[in-house]
């Protein structure tokens, strides 16, 4: 069964460092998302991406964040200068149609720890 894959599974970084989280969405999916979950809190929307551009972003997704689809398979989330409060589990998700058409398929997540 096709699945969304994410790397790394866990990254530890120093505050102020740049981090890139990688995702390989399901191959025929067209819409891509990043969500995050701070420990003990709800899953929060960060950004959606379609047709090589951001379609929606949340207040959390400030100038320190960026997304890119550098080739036909990868979808990356970059945090330019990490802060302690960026420590969270980051989930990539994809869907073949827009979120209006059904469920999202999530990856297993990348745990980011900022020291």
């Amino acid at each position: 069964e096709p699945e969304v894959t994410q790397t790394p599974s866990h990254q530890v970084t120093q505050m102020g460092q740049e981090v890139i989280l990688r995702c390989v969405p399901i191959s025929n999916h067209l819409y891509f998302y990043w969500y995050r979950q701070i420990l003990g809190q709800k899953v929060e929307f960060l950004v959606s991406f379609y047709n090589n551009e951001i379609s929606e972003k949340s207040e959390i997704f400030d100038d320190q964040f960026s997304v890119e689809r550098p080739d036909g398979s990868n979808f990356t989330l970059k945090i330019r200068s990490t802060k302690l409060e960026d420590s969270a589990m980051y989930f990539c998700a994809s869907t073949i149609r827009g979120a209006g058409a059904g469920e999202l398929f999530f990856g297993e997540g990348s745990r980011l720890t900022v020291l």
Binding site: V4, Q6, Y33, Y35, Q41, K42, V43, E44, F45, S48, E56, S58, F91, A93, G98, A99, G100, G102, E103, L104, F105, F106, G107, E108, G109, R111
Partner: protein
């Protein structure tokens, strides 16, 4: 701004009994509701969904009920099995917009 609320952070149910997980929402424009299940160190997995034009959707042991007037939905699992122990997230969205998740309910099935 918690538009989707799960007021019970945890729930314990005896194996074989019915598990009922509840979710309330405030945005009357939501038109599609989903339940996701999440095991530790894994991503959320889609479980079942319901459109706002329906009041019930059933899939095997899982049934979701929607009460639009009360802005309330619930997930029934019957009979509950040990493998159902996980965190369950309610999610909702307006057409073609992002999913908004609740805070989750940790379900523990007691053998």
């Amino acid at each position: 701004d918690q538009q989707v609320k799960q007021n019970s952070p945890s729930l314990s149910v005896q194996e074989g009994r019915i598990s009922i997980l509840n979710c309330d929402y405030t945005n009357s424009m939501f038109d599609y509701f989903l339940w996701y299940k999440k095991y530790p160190a894994e991503g959320p997995t889609f479980l079942i969904s319901i459109s706002s034009i329906k009041d019930k959707n059933e899939d095997g042991r899982f049934t979701v009920f929607l009460n639009k007037s009360a802005k309330h939905l619930s997930l029934h699992i019957v009979p509950s099995q040990p493998g159902d122990s996980a965190v369950y997230f309610c999610a909702a969205r307006r057409e073609n917009e992002k999913l908004t998740f609740g805070t989750g309910t940790r379900l523990t099935i007691i053998p």
